[in-house]
Amino acid sequence: MRAHAPARLARAKVAVGELSAVEPDLLSFAWEAIVGEGPDQGAALEIDWRPGRQYCPTCRADKRQGEGSWMRICLDCGAPLQIEGGTELDVIEIELVPAGEENPG
């Protein structure tokens, strides 16, 4: 029941995949604007950047093609790549400070 007590948000951690079409800098800017000078002023946004894995089943090798690449074919052999992960846009956890208590640190 503790989560329902009055509390201030100290930190939120989100996972952002490189293929989520979300830009961390823009997300941080939006976060600052939303948190603003309201009751959660100063709350931190922690972004856990998640690259995807690009694997070529023909070459039997990872084929990393550069940050944020949407390329789905192997540039060496032309086969379709298998993409794993990188699409996350998840709220992982939030850290709360009960009302009236200081934020540690």
Binding site: A21, P80, D90, E93, L96
Partner: protein
Amino acid sequence: MSFTVDVRRRALAANDAEAEQLRRRFAGERTLVTNLISSPGSGKTTLLEATARRLAGRATAAVIEGDVATELDAERLRAAGLPAYQILTGGACHLDARQIGKALTAAAFPRVDLLFIENVGNLICPTTYDLGEDFKVALLSVAEGSDKPFKYPAIFARAEVTVVTKVDLLPHVRFDLPAVERQVLSLNPSATLLRTSSATGEGIDAWCDLLLERAARKRA
């Protein structure tokens, strides 16, 4: 002392849950649903007008239209013989699943074989929102330039079908059609590529055949 709450929830979980409800509903009604996404002016509404003419008597269809303002598109499609409901987003750049649910309630369409959702003209934001569709369709007109798939990769990677529209204009514009198709296939190796002209009717049969085939598969 501070304490941490484990959330582990997709930011789009609420939309995804609504989209799943829509998907179950469409499965129950055996309605094939397509989500049409493109930049403004690429010919979504005009393709649907041509589609309505070609499918008349062969399949029933309805349209949900998304626009920032005006009922113009819904009026055009009603004039083409399709029941159409206009969602006005008032400035928002995409449709979400809840808007589709509300629109279906308000529109009270009869059961149809095909439901087209014409998204707000935008190659970016609509890409992220699942509307319970069977598949997304990306449109790209030849007047927009050959670099668009690589400049807006997400939609072309996520759309099962890419339709290159206005191919009747090819003699008048610089547009490298094979290069564009290679770009799309490199972003989405299993994409279906179509070339259409709503003005001349080129490719409209192939587009309609694809819809009818997929609708039949969903009814089976």
